[in-house]
């Protein structure tokens, strides 16, 4: 299944937008990009490595040669690329449950978008506008976004502990080690094979 590599799913979607709405969406993205707290929910959901939206204006499809026919399109297009952990259903369920306003704000400008709640109609729409990935590479396929963040925390804690405990007596080392263990103890889940469909 080429949409998935290890524990990450590559979703691609393209939706048509009435060109009149494109500047509004661009403004919304501008605000999202500059008002960091609005991204807090995405960060707290913690199952996306990277995601992006790309607005392609109808005259801006790349044209590399005179021989390549010019596109004559009515709509602007919104491309969406996500790299997420979990199953397709889980991902969409989570967004519809906790971020439905944000989703609506981004996709309401796309033609025939049914709203992100109730979720069944929303899933039908996504299935319609999603197209499959042909080749997907992940540098750390057995790690989810959570694993990556946990690993960085453990690594930082190890460096601090190594530095601080360098010349300690065994007794002091024992206490410092215990403290170190309590620092990293929530971040040591094994990376490995994930469930089917993730």
């Amino acid at each position: 299944m080429t949409n998935i590599n290890g524990k990450t799913y590559a979703m691609n979607a393209i939706t048509p937008m009435n060109a009149f709405y494109t500047p509004i969406l661009k403004l919304i993205f501008f605000i999202l990009g500059h008002v960091k707290p609005l991204q807090a929910d995405l960060i707290n959901l913690s199952f996306i490595h990277f995601a992006r939206w790309v607005v392609v204006k109808r005259h801006k499809f790349p044209r590399l040669s005179e021989k390549q026919p010019e596109e004559h399109l009515h709509y602007d297009y919104l491309l969406f690329f996500s790299n997420f952990n979990g199953t397709w259903n889980q991902y969409i369920d989570a967004f519809a449950d906790v971020l439905s306003n944000g989703l609506n704000l981004i996709w309401r400008w796309s033609a025939k978008f049914p709203g992100s709640r109730p979720v069944t109609a929303f899933k039908r729409y996504i299935a319609l506008v999603q197209f499959d990935t042909d080749y997907y590479y992940v540098a750390y396929p057995r790690a989810t976004a959570n694993d990556v963040k946990a690993a960085h925390r453990v690594n930082a804690a190890l460096e601090d502990f190594a530095r601080n405990s360098k010349d300690m007596t065994p007794a002091d080392f024992g206490s410092a080690y215990l403290k170190f263990v309590t620092q990293v103890q929530a971040d040591l889940g094994a990376t490995g094979i994930g469930p089917v469909g993730t």
């Binding site: 992006r52 499809f61 499959d132 080749y135 590479y137 960085h152 690594n155 094994a190």
Partner: protein, 226 residues
């Protein structure tokens, strides 16, 4: 600068695919065939373009008709979508593509309009920039750690878990000695491989066979763990 988030660059490339109906090669099919045979693990060309965190290639056939009253319309060309998330600088990345994975890049992009080859890195970079779309909004959960830092941290995480497990119940002096050895191993560990599916101590699909425990960074098979 919306293409960038922290130290990570989100590159979106749309390369029009050659449409030659009279020819006996369907270029989009050729790309798909080639991609199906390309390895996705540490043998992937993107492991060689080593600043790549996650990357995908997609042949986009057409836009979607979402149903009346929306209008039906069609693209006149197919496009190869290249979405990649990498550390640092665009120019360095494009140069790496041409230098470190020229064969694979060529095998894919030879089917695209205006592709000049990889022998002239400047021409290649200019071509790719012509195909580049500006990312309107780029989200990155972690935007300040390189691929190598991430791979190392994952190995360290596994190593620390294993260390704590193996040394549970030992005396502080014993743990201290073991810890010094462990640190040494960590510091001298070779570069982990990007794209690799590490072996883990979870048996595949319930085979029940004993599988070796997760390797410490740099550990070779058969050596005792620190």
């Amino acid at each position: 600068m919306p293409n960038q988030n922290g130290n990570v660059y989100g590159l979106t490339i749309l390369s029009p695919i050659i449409n030659a109906p009279a020819g006996d090669v369907s270029h989009d099919c050729a790309i798909r065939d080639y991609l199906a045979s390309l390895p996705r693990d540490h043998h992937s060309p993107f492991a060689k373009i080593s600043s790549t965190h996650l990357a995908r290639l997609v042949v986009m056939d057409d836009v979607v008709f979402v149903g009346t009253p929306a209008r039906e319309e069609h693209l006149k060309s197919k496009y190869l979508v290249f979405e990649t998330n990498f550390d640092g600088d665009l120019d360095a990345y494009l140069a790496s593509m041409a230098r470190d994975a020229p064969d694979e890049v060529h095998a894919v992009w030879q089917h695209c309009v205006g592709y000049p080859g990889t022998q002239d890195p400047a021409a290649f970079a200019a071509y790719m920039k012509k195909c580049q779309l500006e990312t309107t909004f780029f989200f990155a959960d972690v935007n300040d750690k390189t691929v190598q830092q991430t791979l190392r941290a994952l190995k360290v995480q596994a190593g620390v878990a294993h260390f704590i497990e193996s040394n549970q119940g030992k005396s502080p002096a014993e743990i201290q000695a073991a810890f010094r050895q462990f640190l040494d191993k960590v510091r001298h560990a070779p570069e982990p491989l990007a794209g690799e599916y590490e072996r883990t101590h979870v048996p595949a699909r319930g085979q029940g066979a004993v599988v070796r425990t997760q390797p410490l960074a740099g550990e070779h098979e058969g050596q005792p763990n620190g």
